[in-house]
Symmetry: C2
């Protein structure tokens, strides 16, 4: 059993969610199961995952903790390890890959330490080894999570960004982080929406929405502004905003 699943069921769930029966999800299944069994019944669990690779999905499939419900935190320390802990006091257990026990499992050692390129590794043998080794590969240690990681940060007040018009947490600044230049997109002004049997929902009456693109600092006033507005921002083009005070 891995969590509530038989081995076969778990592999099916993994394939459906993760897209493949990755070795990290199988090893991760044993690890999460081991941590879960140590936690008190009925405890409100949170999780920390020390890697971004594979293991977060095993946690999301086998515990109530997901990225979207904020109960799984990924702190990328590069170690294939996870902790489950009680939300209120931070007490719980950390499960890690004990590399001192790898001697009997050469396939697992080759995979974990990347001793051969992936294509040269025998995937079937690797999965068989992980299944055979199961929880014997894992170390467990009691932990207490640093209180600074226990509490969810409050986003505070939400407002519409005066630049893009979208709701954002006011504590991020006078405009949202994307409009401050942290957007991961580059502008594609000429591109048309692709295939669709759906209504195109970019509203023509909201031209601001379609002008989103590269944001620069205006060379006159220094404020961030959408480049599509011209060589300087609209305010410096003469459209300055009147501030009305009571």
């Amino acid at each position: 059993m891995i969590g509530p699943y038989s081995f076969k069921e778990y592999m099916q769930v993994v394939e459906s969610f993760h897209g493949s029966t990755a070795p990290g999800l199988l090893a991760g299944g044993f690890m999460v199961d081991l941590a879960m069994k140590r936690m008190p019944e009925g405890a409100l669990l949170n999780a920390i995952c020390e890697t971004q690779a594979c293991l977060p999905d095993a946690i999301q499939l086998l515990t109530p903790c997901t990225v979207g419900n904020s109960r799984l935190k990924i702190i990328n320390l590069g170690r294939f390890a996870l902790s489950l802990y009680e939300k209120d006091n931070g007490e719980g257990f950390r499960v890690f890959f004990d590399s001192g026990r790898l001697e009997s499992w050469p396939g697992i050692a080759t995979w974990l330490f990347k001793l051969k390129p992936k294509a040269e590794q025998n995937q079937e043998r690797l999965l068989a080894e992980i299944r055979e080794a199961g929880q014997r590969l894992c170390g467990v240690q009691p932990i207490r999570v640093d209180p600074k990681h226990l509490h969810k940060k409050n986003k505070g007040r939400i407002s519409s960004c005066i630049q893009c018009g979208e709701p954002y947490p006011l504590q991020d600044g006078p405009i949202c982080l994307a409009c401050q230049g942290e957007t991961p997109y580059v502008s594609i002004p000429g591109r048309q929406p692709g295939r669709s049997t759906h209504l195109v929902l970019v509203k023509p009456q909201h031209p601001g929405k379609t002008s989103r693109g590269l944001v620069s600092n205006c060379s006159m006033c220094g404020e961030p502004y959408p480049e599509s507005d011209g060589p300087v921002c609209r305010a410096c083009q003469g459209e300055s905003v009147k501030v009305i005070r009571d």
Copy 2:
């Protein structure tokens, strides 16, 4: 329909995975579905989510992209928005909450802008409004993801950390990030493992494993070392390591 699910099925899947039928998952379901329908059939999809709250779970449930398979990247810009794009060229669509359309949905506006404390909001009415509004609340824009976000970083060589003994990416430094002080745990030297019908797997023959705890810089040599070793590191206590060269 939301993705491959009927409304009722989707809510069941959400409750099982996320733990509750949160409004963000329902709104997110409509948003993800809208983005999915715009992408070419058979395209290898990746996703960017601009918030950590709720929306990542809708993406993980309705697309092949998860945190653990590295196809979902969360770039927290504080906006309730997501993009799906083709892995190779970064082209795709961004779907966002169009706050200009909220006038007809006061419950949604109250929730989104946190105009009332959560306990005073009518959850049932909110879900009904989101269901009624559906994709009419969403804006869509074509995007191209900045090439710097398209490629997965290679972790490079993996080695055992000389301090904790666990495998870690060598590019993180001479010891792993946790041993460099980024661990989210505080030490609990006296605590015993909790309830268990399972074998306790902390190996006594690996004392290094159980001594993991606070790491400080040694006041004599300045190197990081586990505080449990004493007031100075073992090397400075006289146990210095002989380096043997060929």
